[in-house]
Symmetry: C2
Subunit: 226 residues, 2 copies
DNA sequence: CGGCCACTTGAAAACCTTCAACCTATGTGG
DNA sequence: CCACATAGGTTGAAGGTTTTCAAGTGGCCG
């Protein structure tokens, strides 16, 4: 059970590493220290902006975001395409494929990003993987969008405000800043919220004027300051 | 490892039982047989229509629905209340509380229902609970509403159609029928979808006229027949 | 410079909500 | 048994929000 010689981590990008000894372990797994050998992951080559990590319909694979931001897009049966989620550092991508055997959405880097691929147990061979599964379950259950979008039906201004505020809140879990640069276009935000891009523009204008948010271009912060 | 004398299941409602020996194990855990001692649960006293199982803000507890249907409601910070989900047999209720330490929503029986309370490991003591955690993770990841509401922004008719079709699909996983009685009022459906109750009425009328669904009162089925 | 893309703004049209009235089924008390 | 009350459901018309369409701006890159 010596975890030392399992980690060939010095050459970095290609080998599988014990998350417990990764310098960024707190960002991914939180303050509660991870026991040795509980979770193994492999750092993938960095993703440039626009690079695709997952294709809808592709084979199962689960990643955790290390840096950057991924957009999740889904093609609906009627042919239209919608943004269905955003993943920030410490969040999981592709977990659904573990249950369904297929990727339900496409994941694309919204900004330059880095991810680690998790070594998942074959379904049915869970013994000995309790810690990994518990961590994943906790992350998964903590996601706010678990019980349907509570903002559906709210006025556009409230939806946009909730989206931006939630983005800032999540971003602040791994970054100490006040201002953030939105990785999405107004059209993408609209696609996610079910609004026309023009409506997003007008809502942001309104929120900015009423000092609820500070918005200039893609830079946003809470309150009126910026 | 004899699971026999752990099950005092003949007196039914009060004792903890190994899910592997429960007559309804397939309904809850699917066709893949559950190994002995992997998941334990306790059948709770039956819930009458309207009875509350969980209160928003309450202490953590995770249940699986055996029969009936639960509605999940959430009070938003602005004081309004919204329906945020529906749970049918085999689905989990309250899993979010395991991660957050608090119940984010109220769960109320929409029809007479029965649930089993799952024995959850204390967070951090995952060793030996791999199978339970894996099963929960799979269920949790399989939920369709995981990546935000794909119907937001669609016309009202499409939202209502998607809701009814999804309800029928889920209900057919544990019931062999064609027609189902909706456990929700039009106002509740509207609350879930972010629509006014009148709009739900008109959408259902339209779907019925165009033969996409058959609707009479609360009884619904796919196609034009009923 | 020209082209492209994201963003912005204005006006008309479409859609949904709101409000009000009415209907139907169910249950209760006289 | 009926009168009545209640809750859910349905319908019509007015009003408000959002979408759509159209045009124009500004930054970035070949």
């Amino acid at each position: 059970m010596n975890s030392h010689d399992r980690n060939r981590s010095r050459n970095g990008a290609q080998s599988e590493t014990d998350c417990a000894v990764c310098p960024g372990t707190r960002r991914c797994w939180g303050a509660e220290p991870l026991s040795a050998d509980a979770v193994h992951a492999r750092r993938e080559p960095p993703l440039e902006r626009g690079a695709r990590l997952l294709e809808q319909g592709g084979t199962p694979a689960v990643y955790i975001v290390a840096t950057g931001c991924l957009v999740l897009r889904m093609s609906l049966p009627d042919g239209s395409q919608r943004v269905v989620g955003l993943r920030l550092p410490g969040e999981l991508v592709g977990l659904e494929s573990y249950a369904r055997g297929i990727q339900p959405y496409t994941a694309q880097a919204a900004t330059a990003s880095a991810v680690c691929r998790l070594r998942m147990p074959e379904p049915g061979t869970a013994a000995g993987h309790g810690t990994l599964l518990e961590r994943l379950l906790l992350k998964s259950a903590a996601q706010p969008e678990r019980a349907a979008a509570p903002w559906a039906g709210l006025p556009a201004i409230e939806r946009v405000a909730a989206f931006i505020e939630n983005y800032i809140e999540r971003a602040q879990l791994t970054a100490r800043e006040e201002r953030f640069r939105l990785p999405l276009t107004r059209a993408d935000i609209g696609s996610y919220l079910g609004l026309a891009p023009e409506t997003v523009v007008r809502a942001l204008g309104h929120l900015s004027q009423t000092q609820r948010l500070a918005v200039r271009g893609r830079t946003v912060s809470l309150g009126g300051t910026l």
